[in-house]
Amino acid sequence: MEGKKFSLFDFVYKYGTVAVIVIVMLVFSLTNPYFFTYDNITDILRSISIVTFVAIGVTFSLIVGGFDLSVGSTVSLTTVVAASMMVWHEQGPLVTLLAPIVLSLLVGLINALLVVKIRIPDLLATLAMLYIVNGIHMTYSKGYSIYANMPMEDGSVAPGKFQEWFLWLGQGEIASVPVPVILTFLLVVVTHIYLTYTRQGRMLYMTGGNLEAARLSGIPVDRYRTLAYVLSALFAGLGGMLLAARIGTGQVSSGGSMLMDAVAAAFVGFSVFGAGKPNVFGTFVGAILIGVLLNGMTMLNLPYYAYDIVKGVVLALALAVTYYQLRRKRKA
């Protein structure tokens, strides 16, 4: 080991992502006085809360060496289902919360069935599920977004509406901190502790690190991979419900763009503090980076259709740093 010799690359590798966030925030603060205000910062955090949920799910699938492309569709599905439970069926909290959760668990189990049991490569299996789940949510909503007082097929008006307690999840505040931000922090902390300090978390990493060695060490690898896909779908599902609560309608196809942002956040997370592997804290930082960029660009009045260019460049840079480092490591 080289030890104390300062290397610019190592610095970039470990703190690059964080440094970029700091620099970007500095630049935006200097160009726009409103940027670095409490309101705007909470705004950014609120805007990334849903992506963070989805991205943490993706992180779980990455940890076991898999991939879950179906998370975006799962978001769309639970958004619409949660909305319909209230607006169409006038259900109370129990059903409104349980129905989407059960559905997302089901999606996760089917993913696990395809990938773990039938052994379809993860990308392909979850690609198929992306279509299936998306199709189901479209069929179920008949292609219409769900909102209070919407016209029904028989000419009547939808009987229910979005309930206060539900909207509070997405729009409420506790001591002037938005509820979704609090929920996001909770999720980050809990999953971080789970992955870092518990046996199950360790086993998930071992399974992803070397599947065959893990199996031959007596780890029930199929069970852990199943767990990862179920959690991935569950967090995506929760994200979808949060989305419905935040915008107050059951927007169709709202999860489509979520997939890409979540994957980007999770991969940017590889490079945070030089982890070199999927980790929840890094994923959170990745989501913040994307949120800050979007927010700043909006303020600078950049055309929204250029945002994807910036997102893509950030992702490519983060990946370049991560994989360059991995290659150096393997050579050593």
């Binding site: 046996r199 690190g209 065959e212 060695a213 031959l216």
Partner: protein
Amino acid sequence: MSTLHMQGIEKQFSGVPALRTVDFEVKAGEVHALLGANGAGKSTLMKILTGAYQADGGSISIDGQAVQIQSPQDAKALGIQCVYQEVDTALVPYLSVAENILLDQLVQDKVSSFVSWQRLYAQSEELLRGFGFSIPVQMTVEECSLSEKQLILIARATVQKAKFVIFDEPTAPLSTKESERLFHIIAQLKKAGVGIIYISHRLPEIFEICDRITIMRDGQHVITTETQATNMDEVISHMLGKSFAEEFPKAVVEIGEPIFEVIGARGGKVRHADLTVREGEIVGVVGLVGAGKTELARLLFGADAAEAGEIKLKGTQLRIRTPKDAVDAGIVLVPEERRKEGIFVEESVKSNLSVATISKWSPFGFIRSGLEVGLAKELVQRLGVKTADISQLVGFLSGGNQQKVAIGKWLETDASIFMFDEPTKGVDIGAKSDIYRLIGNLAEQKKGVLYFSCEFQEVIGIADRVLIMFEGQIVKELSRDQATQELIMYYASGGE
């Protein structure tokens, strides 16, 4: 007549010498056997010749003209071809026989971007006919048998105007009849003036087809001789060198009651295996490469599916369907492919050592990190793992130290049967003696040990009893006093 000459070749892997000033030569029109026990350096030498590795020192020349081989392309350009043992790695399964034979030509064709199927089929058919074979050339390679695939590779080598062809254990997967056909082809190549380097563990066929023999041991050249001027006993003693027992003395342990019994195990390559292990006993399971040792170990461990058989541990009948079942019952395996199956290269020494016992000391699922650090430190010391720190990634350790980690994770489990599959493969001499010592310690603690290896001298040195496998069956049992390398070789190569 051209001659290929390798002179003073040296090669080190992370400081461990694999080749020490090795000389080797092969002439056009001769079949030259390259022999040596596992780890003698044969494949390293050949990988240098084919450009897969770079030598650290020495030179290669053809007809006295020095040549540089920096890459596989260089080797091919010089007319050096290799027919690898794992034929599938060099073939494209869903392309036709013809395309596979003429693959290099297709890839390199600078004249035309279009493929003339007619010409392709005609050319490859003619090539195969030259060897006296007819495989339908439009068939995909997927549908070919192993020996046909081998033939395709040989045909491909001749298309390239090969001057020197290396055969690496070509008969290992072949039946007797298929081997005969292969020898016929080799004779044809020889007649055409090709120089052939022939690597094999099967001595009878060496004496049948080879003109000269070169023997290597521990990365050094031992002797080159005319085949007629020597005999099998002499060759074996050159391959083995100093006796194992002199180098690694065996610990004396009192052997107890039978604890592990296997009756009629069958599955995959394993056709039939009965065996018993007693307390404190080290049972060696030997056989040539491909005899089914690894498969038997994996079967007993639940890593591969068993079709039939009974397994009893301390009198209790077990149902082992997954490795977890085996570990829970107290049967553990140190697998052959260390990097792929035994360790987690991107995890720390600490997490590698704790993986098998972690559930025992994680109350409510939380890892007690103090306990983990203590366990890892203690094991590192007991195993003699050379590492700067227990948070070091295992991928950075040397092969021997990685193997110690792979063994170490099982030491604190309550397992009563320890299986080792080629535990000293690719391990330097110092780590080897540490590993023998660890296995001896396990026997002293009344554990049962199954030691799978194709290194006969090791097994004779360490085992109380030797079981010999041939073609998926245990064909012979020898006691420690009876076992000699010659006798094992005799049964392992199908003698009755």
